[in-house]
């Protein structure tokens, strides 16, 4: 499989950022959780929210640098 990045030759940085949003959307909310008592931990939603807030800030900065 190739990298699932939107093809956007004029905005490689932006495409990479956007792909990160799509990736986090999937790895944090998707995938199977095979859990039992022996599972130590799994990313929980509250932490993800915090990270997404940080991501919003970083994307805004990135777009500002691109003059968008």
């Amino acid at each position: 499989m190739s990298h699932p990045v939107p093809r956007d030759p004029d905005g490689a940085l932006r495409a990479e950022r956007i792909a990160l949003v799509d990736l986090l959307d999937r790895v944090l909310a998707g995938g199977v959780v095979i859990s039992g008592e022996i599972r130590l931990s799994v990313a929980d939603v509250d932490l993800v929210q915090i990270s997404l807030q940080a991501l919003i800030a970083s994307v805004s900065t990135g777009l500002g640098e691109l003059g968008d």
Partner: protein, 254 residues
């Protein structure tokens, strides 16, 4: 062992020779290896509890740079696995190989069915954005109408234009989803992403969907997405192929 370790899980596949994973390294560097049980194989790597124990992990998940590196490493391993794979959610960590092997055996039937569902299929992401619309023009004046009636007509015209736009967006999202779902083995609607995250802060995301598509249909599916964008003169974005994150187990379909 000199320091306490745990086991990071990437994905579950059918029987898989450990040789097929040679050269693959996972989160935090150590090589990816296999844990086999009940005809299934989990791709895993060893992680240090000092970094990946529950408390340190909680702290690190809030660090975006760490989260990005870890998410990409997790994804790269899953993406590199030969054959169908059921991804595990990020940061699913087990005490040791034996406990994971026990869980594989315990959920063997469900996992085997999940693998059958994703065989020779991949996940594709589709995001549909609202078209940018010009501001609503006033209704044309009609000769003979008094000022009160003119006002009501103007106001009604504006309100109905906004309502019509909203309804048109909903109908468009429904049409696009119905057409693409018809070409997919399964579909999953995801919450629309915040406008700040999409790089398109001025246009609302109308649809954020994932489709599980047969590999043989993928080219036709991609062409259909492009055609929908052209036909409806709107921005529609296709990403993939992804491992089947949104279709990890049966029952996650439509």
């Amino acid at each position: 062992m000199t320091e306490p370790h745990a086991v990071w899980g990437y994905a579950v596949t059918a029987r898989l020779s450990p040789d097929r994973l040679a050269g693959l390294s996972g989160v935090a560097g150590p090589p990816v290896r296999t844990v086999a049980a009940a005809g299934l194989t989990a791709a895993v790597s060893t992680v240090s509890l000092a970094e990946f124990g529950e408390q340190p992990l909680r702290r690190r998940l809030e660090d975006l740079a760490w989260l990005e590196a870890t998410a990409r490493a997790h994804h790269q391993v899953i993406d590199a696995l030969p054959g169908p794979a059921i991804p595990l959610r990020l940061a699913t960590i087990y005490r040791d190989d034996a406990s994971l092997a026990g869980l594989l055996a315990q959920r063997q039937a469900e996992l085997a069915a999940g693998l059958r569902q994703v065989t020779e299929r991949a996940e594709w992401g589709v995001k549909l954005f609202a078209a940018e619309r010009p501001a609503v023009a006033d209704a044309p004046e009609r000769a003979g109408a008094g000022p009160g009636l003119s006002y009501l007509r103007r106001r009604g015209h504006q309100l109905s234009a906004a309502e019509q736009a909203r309804q048109a967006d909903a109908v468009l999202a429904e049409q696009v989803h119905a057409e693409l779902r018809g070409m997919a083995a399964a579909a999953q609607l995801r919450p629309a992403q915040a406008a700040e995250l999409t790089g398109e802060p001025r246009t609302a995301m109308l649809l954020n969907a994932a489709y599980l598509v047969d590999d043989g249909t993928a080219a036709r599916f991609a062409a259909a997405v492009r055609e929908l964008g052209r036909r409806h003169r709107t921005r529609i974005e296709l990403t993939g192929p992804w491992p089947p994150y949104s279709f990890a187990l049966p029952g996650t379909g439509p």
